[in-house]
């Protein structure tokens, strides 16, 4: 960017223009974000605390919550390992295909979740490439928990890596080189130097990854088979309740996801602030 561009543009807008723009932005935020979020909670507690509690502790709801937590518990650690490995490779080494790897990591961002789900149906479905082979060995991937895990891992793939790459790039590798020169083993260097440097960024990635894992609907919907109590995650359970005219229960369960969203937002703010602190 040129020096001129970075200069602060003097405020020339008339007062009313500023006023209109600000109230427009605030108004839209209230209309599109605050109101719907409030509506979820109002609907959820529409029939009182007891009904809300019954809806989120009912057997199928409990199983959906357990499944979502389990899938997240598998997907997030996998993505942490992958994200660390990818960020390390990309920021510390120059190799052929480095840019290709960077692009590939971003694919899940660009692909519609429905397509992500269909990819797995095409590969692992009974009529898919590996379908007959899997069927012979009695392995069920699609329409079972493994398929849901795969789809979730796929859509959350970029979160950790994308967060770490710019952070590690800006930090450079001098401190790590110093550690090695001073006789640290690779593991010591990673634990004592790299990890402390990137921990806030890593946590930030984990938070985003967790939120998306819990909330993913499209890809999971395609591979789930919608079997109540077996392959329904929280968002799918919300849809089922809604389709059964059970609006209060649907919003009660949805309110759980909204709480996750709000907590994510708060954590995000804290971690953003911590990351910026770490970078300077």
């Amino acid at each position: 960017m040129s020096a001129v561009g970075r200069k602060r543009v003097p405020r020339t807008e008339a007062r009313w223009v500023r006023w209109v723009l600000i109230s427009l932005a605030v108004g839209l935020t209230i209309f599109f974000i605050v109101l719907p979020l409030a509506a979820v909670f109002i609907q959820a507690f529409d029939k009182g605390w007891a009904v809300w509690q019954a809806a989120v502790t009912e057997e199928n709801a409990r199983k959906a919550i357990f499944l979502s937590l389990m899938v997240t518990g598998i997907a997030v650690p996998l993505n942490v390992v992958f994200g660390l490995a990818a960020a390390w490779a990309i920021t510390r080494f120059q190799f052929k295909g480095r840019n290709l790897l960077l692009t590939l990591i971003d694919i899940p961002f660009g692909v519609s979740p429905v397509v992500s789900g269909l990819i797995f149906v095409l590969v692992f479905g009974a009529q898919g490439w590996l379908g007959p082979w899997l069927a012979d060995r009695d392995i069920q991937i699609i329409f079972a928990v493994p398929g849901i895990v795969l789809a979730t891992v796929f859509v959350t793939f970029p979160f950790v890596a994308r967060e770490l790459i710019p952070l590690m790039q800006s930090q450079g590798s001098e401190e790590e080189e110093a550690a090695i020169v001073l006789g640290a083993t690779a593991w010591q260097m990673f634990r004592r130097v790299t990890l402390p440097n990137i921990k806030w960024g890593l946590l930030y990635g984990v938070v985003l990854c967790t939120a998306r894992s819990l909330g993913e609907f499209g890809a999971v919907s395609v591979v789930s088979g919608h079997i109540r109590g077996l392959t329904n995650t929280i968002p799918l359970h919300v849809e089922i309740l809604y389709n059964e005219y059970n609006y209060t229960a649907a919003f009660a369960v949805a309110s759980l996801l909204s709480v996750v969203a709000v907590v994510t937002l708060l954590l995000k703010k804290v971690l953003e602030w911590k990351t910026r602190e770490a970078r300077t």
Binding site: G131, Q140, H226, I227, R228
Partner: protein, 332 residues
């Protein structure tokens, strides 16, 4: 925490590998049968326990009939399928080859233990005076119906309209086509399944008339209040036959063939028929039909075999890729 993880993984693995406990059945069904099978599954589990001493747990999956059929073809492990129309089970037999193509001859009444039809759900007082199929094609009437490509109910609705037109216009195919084209010109939004359309009509308040499964219309009255909507029976409609079948190869693999067969047969018993009738499906059993006669007004019902020569023909002509529905809906 470190200790818990292996324990959870191990217990998951064992629960997957050595599934014990109750016998499990998966019933893959279409959209509007949720309430029906909730009642029926409880009744069957009680009956089976009394008869054999074995606990049976029935899992349900619901969605648009065509989409559910597709899932079973792609490997959804259904022991039984209870779908919206015969073609969707034919497709499973043809493409996945996990049940024989003559499946429909194995149970009484074309493997259809209950029937239904397509009726109109209108707003209270019927402000647009929709009494007949010909009223639904009038200008200025907004019609809500799901997408025939994915929804069984929508295909029955489409064929009901087509059949009505044929029977009122000397079997003139071109005129029937014009009639149905008009009908779909009046459709502002196509949802993917019956439930979605009911919500669009009842919850979001779109449209003047919902072309609905009879049972779904009754359910909407029950859920949203009889003071908001009313059901209108046209003079004629189609006899909708939602069939059921055991998926042989999957049931054999799970060792559930016997219980799966008993499950479907139980639909034909007096109790099964009563449960169907209470959920607004027309029973086959004459005794139960007589008992619930008040719930099911008489109207002329033509069958798909009479008017269209069966599902295979109807599917190929109307709902296949580039079929009549594609042509008239694109032309919109």
């Amino acid at each position: 925490m470190k200790r818990i993880v292996p324990i959870i993984l191990a217990s998951l693995l064992t629960s997957v590998l050595f599934a014990t406990g109750p016998v499990k059945l998966l019933n893959v069904s279409y959209d509007p049968t949720r309430e029906l099978y909730q009642d029926f599954n409880a009744a069957f589990a009680k009956y089976w326990k009394a008869k054999t001493g074995v606990d049976v747990e029935i899992n349900q999956s619901h969605g648009g009939s065509g989409a559910q059929s597709r899932s079973v073809i792609d490997g959804l492990q259904a022991d039984v399928v209870t779908l919206g129309l015969a073609y969707d089970i034919d497709a499973i037999a043809e493409k996945a080859k996990i049940l024989p193509t003559d499946w429909q001859t194995r149970l009484p009444n074309n493997s259809t233990p209950y029937t239904s039809t397509i009726v109109f759900l209108v707003r209270k007082g019927n402000p647009k005076h929709i009494k007949e199929w010909s009223d639904a094609v009038r200008d200025g009437v907004a019609v809500i119906t799901p997408n025939p490509k994915t929804s069984g109910g929508a295909r029955w609705s489409y064929l009901a309209a087509w059949g009505y037109a044929l029977r009122h216009d000397n079997n003139d195919d071109a005129k029937a086509r014009a009639f149905v084209t008009h009908l779909y010109k009046n459709v502002p939004v196509l949802d993917s399944g019956a439930r979605g359309s009911t919500a669009t009509f009842a919850q979001r308040g779109l449209g003047d008339v919902l072309l609905s499964w009879e049972n779904e219309a009754h359910l909407a009255l029950k859920e949203f209040g009889a003071d908001k909507f009313e059901i209108v029976y046209p003079s004629e409609s189609i006899l909708a036959e939602p069939p059921v079948a055991v998926v042989d190869k999957i049931a054999a693999k799970h060792g559930t063939t016997e219980v799966a067969k008993a499950y479907l047969n139980y639909l034909y018993t007096d109790e099964g028929q009563e449960i169907a009738a209470r959920n607004f499906y027309r029973p086959r059993n004459e005794k139960v039909t007589a008992k619930y006669a008040a719930s099911f007004p008489k109207l002329t019902l033509f069958t798909i075999d009479q008017v269209f020569g069966g599902w295979q023909k109807a599917q190929a002509k109307h709902f296949g890729d580039g079929g009549v529905f594609d042509q008239i809906y694109q032309a919109k």
